[in-house]
Amino acid sequence: MLQTDQYIINVGPQHPSTHGGLHIEAIMDGEVVKDLIVHLGYVHRSVEKIAESKTYQQFVPYAARLDYLATNLPVLGYCQAVEKLLDIEVPERAQYIRIIMAELSRIASHQIAISAGAIDLGATTGLMYGMRDRERIMDIFEMTGGQRLLSAYIRIGGVAQDIPEGFIPAVQSLVADVPAMVEEYNGLLTGNEILAARLKGVGILSAEEAIAYGVTGPNLRASGIAYDLRKADPYGIYDRFDFDIPTGSNGDSWDRWVVRIREIEESAKIIAQALQDMPEGEVKGKVPRLLKAEKDREVYHHIESSKGELGYYIVGDGSDKPYRLHIRAPSFINLMVLPSICREGTFQDIITNIATLDPILGESDR
């Protein structure tokens, strides 16, 4: 073999395919990646410190800005954690609305994962297909909360207000169209020979390694472990719905890709059931104007976000502000395996692996 010098190439923080301000220092030998160092913090806002100076209600919009592509999921997690901490009951109707919003967010997030993944692989048209379909979900969010991207519609104790007229037909038609959307993604992207060649056998993450590194969400399920907090530790009313957990077998980029597409279908199934069972009634429980947590009362609440296990650890101190709030960000933990799955791959595989790990930097840097 020809002996050549190794060189370092800095991917990001200004780079088209790093999904935000991610900085990767790649140690390369020609086109082969010898090692990878991940530098984080370009989107660090010290959200955990900000939380200590905000009341429990005031933090809700900050939670929405964690995972800005699946905005309802981090808000749901935060609100449920506070509700646990303060013993707040959530009315039935609000529970169902929350499920619908959360699953819509999950679909939107996976659509971004697939379409952004497609453009990272050079399939520009794939991007537009995913974005086009996500636009309908954004419209639904706009109906409920007035905001498209960063809606804080889910509130402590329920949701901000009842769903507007036209919401249910819009969601129903979206759910009805999901199989056609998935068909189209599969036709344009998944069924493509080149895409399969780019993804299969690339960035293999074994089940053991995934667990050891705390990888959760679709990335863990792609490695063959059917671990989904919606089933393993049902929060809210998830135990009432019938859905499957899609899993992969090899843990490569291909499996991560396919698991996400199949999760879109499962989410649509959940939404359809929730629409059917949703009762009439109140949408906001009895929430005192001033929320105060008892001193030293603490809670760790985890939900299945679109990226993995999203946890909130909140410690109260008798005041209306949390004494300490920690966010277990799945993107942060999932990124930890990036060096090990990229090693000895080619340069192009780094981009593939980032795309299929689907980190979101607003969440990982907090």
Partner: protein
Amino acid sequence: MNTIDLDKLGKELQEQYGEAVRVSSDSFANVLQVQPSHLVQLMKALREQYGFNHLANLTAVDYREEFQLVYHLSSIPDCKTLTVKTRVSRAAARVDSVFSVWPTADWQEREVYDLMGIEFNHHPNLIRVLLPDNFEGHPLRKDFRMGGEK
């Protein structure tokens, strides 16, 4: 969610560790309070004998005189959960790293070091993870002075 048999676990741990481990439970979680000296030993046992293969979360809370490190363990795929806590004094904010038990502690411990200023013994690469390397202070400490507060 599978619940663990706390009495049995408590009894077994008491036998092995004596006063170093205290078992309690609040309305949400089962908590083990452990002396820092026995932390890694206990964690290894929890992972290997009790099946807590997933270190879900690792963080720290500043209680002014002391820091409390909080480890949220769970098991994949049956999702048993357990909280382990240990306290270190502010003057000697140092604790053994659990990186050897769960590699996922790598960045989480770096984050605690970065934002809370607790050092971890035997950590492979204890440098700041979110803040720039030349940042002064640890912002999540309660005595950290934010801008404009002088």
